[in-house]
């Protein structure tokens, strides 16, 4: 029942208008990469699968719908016996995705395809948003560990939990959110808050107690009172006094305020001089990809980053604008009648028909050259040269050779039955890193990235233009 009310009014209307057996094709796609990035990361497919596998309407739901008094009783009966029978194709999680691509397609009775719209969008929009942001932050950290620390600033509990999952796919190495360790096996990390330090009579006492409790993983928070005058000296004292005699080395210190670039350099020097060059420095405090990039450019001595609010909410662009549009209707004879949505905003015009999404990789470099949308019955034969062209500026053409063409979507539901392969989260994380590695550096730039080619096959382009001309008449 987490569905927009209009999905239900429409489904009910389809029912009374005898569309219950009409098969539609619905594409999910997005129009813009957040933060003007060059690509996004697909995520959330596993939760779409779980949602659909558990989709039923309870007696409580049906009672509610009856109480609204605008729905047909036969329609409510239909929901009572609801059995999902659609097919779904989706880009696998962790894969880079680009504007205009059908990253997920639902084929099935329009009533059903309409009812699942809201949750499909919500799930994929949310997790793709966070995976994309996490990947940016991880790239800014240039090999240093990035931990997701945002639960307390997440937009609701699911925002925290599934946000941490998406952040892990995008490249984070762990989370502060305990339940994500219990349920997903994402390493939960965390040491102490300022409250710990404040609770004891002194910072030194607080550090001593912590070192005694967790000698093998002792990271101390050094900014409760004064980082350089009190925090770091007290940490060093405790490392010497408690850890070394027990044969332990310190894990690290964490700095959560002040000018971390400056403080980290000073702290690094103090730790090195005290004989702890292996003691890591962790930074936190409203970080994001831009601050991390600049800190490292200025030589900050930071080994790992705890990133909270700006990762878990994807500030300052907290929206992944995926939409879900009808692209075709299947006629009784199995042929597909393509459908288009036209708009005053050209960017809102859709690509009609049932499509495939191909990625062309250069066989020599392994790099992704372009994506091509074709009609569902087209195959890109990568044993021959293939001409791609810009769908807006159609005189821009390029023949590519020595490439590998991959139909990148997987079928995850077949006639309502789940056929998705289960991917382990660590596998998705590695897959993501590998696939991002196939993109040219120019596409991964933060500022003004190169626009990756997303082209249409000649047949699809012709079809789209035919429909546009039809409607223009």
């Amino acid at each position: 029942m987490l569905t927009d009310f209009y999905e239900i009014t429409m489904a009910n209307g389809y029912f009374t208008n005898h569309f219950e057996n009409t098969i539609g094709y619905y594409d999910m796609f997005f129009r813009k990469v957040p933060n003007d990035g060059g690509f996004a990361i697909m995520a959330g497919v596993q939760q779409v699968v779980e949602y659909i596998e558990n989709l039923t309407f309870t007696e409580e739901d049906l009672a509610y719908l009856r109480s609204v008094k605008i729905f047909n009783e036969q329609f409510i009966e239909y929901l009572k016996n609801f059995k999902f029978v659609c097919d779904i194709w989706a880009v696998p999680e962790g894969m880079p995705i680009f504007p205009g691509e059908p990253i997920l397609t639902v084929r099935g009775p329009v009533i059903q395809a309409q009812l699942v719209e809201t949750m499909i969008l919500l799930t994929v929009n949310h997790q793709s948003l966070i995976a994309t942001k996490a990947n940016r932050i991880v790239r800014a950290a240039r090999g240093r560990a990035v931990m997701e620390f945002g639960s307390r600033r997440a937009q609701g509990a699911d925002g925290a939990i599934y946000g941490a999952r998406a952040a892990y796919i995008g490249g984070c190495c762990g989370t502060a959110c305990t339940i994500c360790d219990r349920d997903f096996g994402i390493p939960a990390l965390g040491t102490m808050a300022h409250s710990w330090v404040q609770l004891f009579d002194s910072e030194l006492d607080a550090f001593r107690a912590y070192a005694r409790e967790y000698p093998s993983s002792c990271t101390l928070l050094v900014d409760t009172y004064n980082v350089l005058k009190s925090g770091v000296p007290n940490a060093i004292k405790v490392f010497n006094e408690i850890l070394l005699p027990q044969g332990y080395r310190p894990a690290g210190i964490r700095i959560d305020s002040g000018d971390i670039t400056y403080l980290s350099k000073k702290a690094r020097k103090m730790l090195d001089e005290a004989g702890f060059p292996d003691c890591k420095i962790c930074a936190s405090n409203s970080l994001d990809e831009y601050i991390i990039r600049d800190m490292l450019m200025q030589g900050a001595c930071v080994d790992s980053f705890g990133v909270g609010e700006r990762l878990i909410t994807a500030a300052p662009e907290p929206v992944f604008g995926g939409v879900y549009k009808l692209s075709g209707i299947e006629k009784a004879d199995g042929t597909i009648l393509p459908k288009i949505k036209i708009s005053e905003n050209v960017a809102k015009i859709t690509n009609p028909g049932f499509k495939r999404l191909w990625r062309l990789y250069d066989r020599e470099t392994g790099k992704a050259i372009a994506d091509v949308l074709t009609l569902h019955d087209e195959v890109i034969d990568d044993s021959k040269p293939y001409e791609i062209f810009d769908p807006e500026y159609i005189w821009k053409r390029k023949v590519i050779t020595n490439f590998r063409a991959v139909d990148i979507r997987e079928k995850i539901f077949e006639h309502g039955r789940c056929v998705a392969r289960y991917h382990d989260l660590n596998e998705l994380k590695e897959y993501c890193a590998g696939q991002v590695g196939t993109l040219w550096d120019e596409v991964t730039r933060f500022e003004n990235p190169h626009r990756y080619y997303v082209d249409l096959s000649q047949r699809l382009w012709d079809e789209k233009n035919r429909l546009l001309e039809e409607h223009a008449e």
Copy 2:
């Protein structure tokens, strides 16, 4: 178990360090109003209550904690028999709140108060963020209806559901999210998507079918192909052809793309001329408070707004930065030892001690004059003049008279027992509107609002400065 891992490492450490009976005071406060606004709206208290009332550790949780192998078995036993015994005070939902104020205080055993930190922050941060944003948007709409349409772009399912709840408190009149109607009684609204229009052979057929299905609440989406050439004329045709003969008037049209200011004026004229001056025009499409303000300034003929992604995620500032800090420890004799957190960032310095939060209202105008934080045993006697002063620029002083002093927080838990009054959501919405009405216009401005006074009593100010000087030595 949706708690930061460090809450558990700390709680375990408190346990072994014999703090299990130490009583602490923890304040939740925030430092900055999103979007540089003049005030925020408190929300989420009801969900804090529900969370705490259901707080237990399951066998699965305990098995997980054992598996981490760093926690004491006695501590795990403690969690097994966990019984919440804290007191909690909170500002009621719907109330305007300001930076630096203890909007929620937990008093109790430090182990317990620490364990609930993450969920308290997450819940109040999220809902206050959305209620604050909704209130801005509703104020921009100057009396016109604002509907929350954001589920599909929410950050997770809870983001959609509790976001819709908070938006309603902040002043929205309904939501697109069906489950919020079923569970909270928030009116669920919604008509049709572009898919509906596309599915039929023509826009006209689609409108006819909809009007036949829902003649009493017929709102038609007019921008699938061309608003002025096709959408509005077809809508008018269907109103005349199907609604009028049945004795119904049209509910409205919705425009979801293009330049809505321009289109709405043209559409208004067409509807008026066709004899439908009562047909409402609803606008949607990435709206926020700024766009709505500008549209209305330019004379857009819009009667209601459907606001989605920028409301449900509070774009472009999707973070409410509430924090939770130790402010004092209760000694065995019941006296309170105040605690402070100092920081290189002055804004991060906390207000120590167990405090009360007073709002002073002018008896003549009913307007809020200032808030004052006092120590818990101070009472502001509003039968006498009272001097307030700026805690940073202490020579700025003002004596106020003829005012009413209200201790604005409610006790919601007493020794672990819920004593919160249940507030109906409509009551909270009205309360919010009423309380926002007590603010001077200068405070409610979007740009550069007047900073509302949040002062400290002389005793609290003295206490804070004593602690700062102590630590500076």
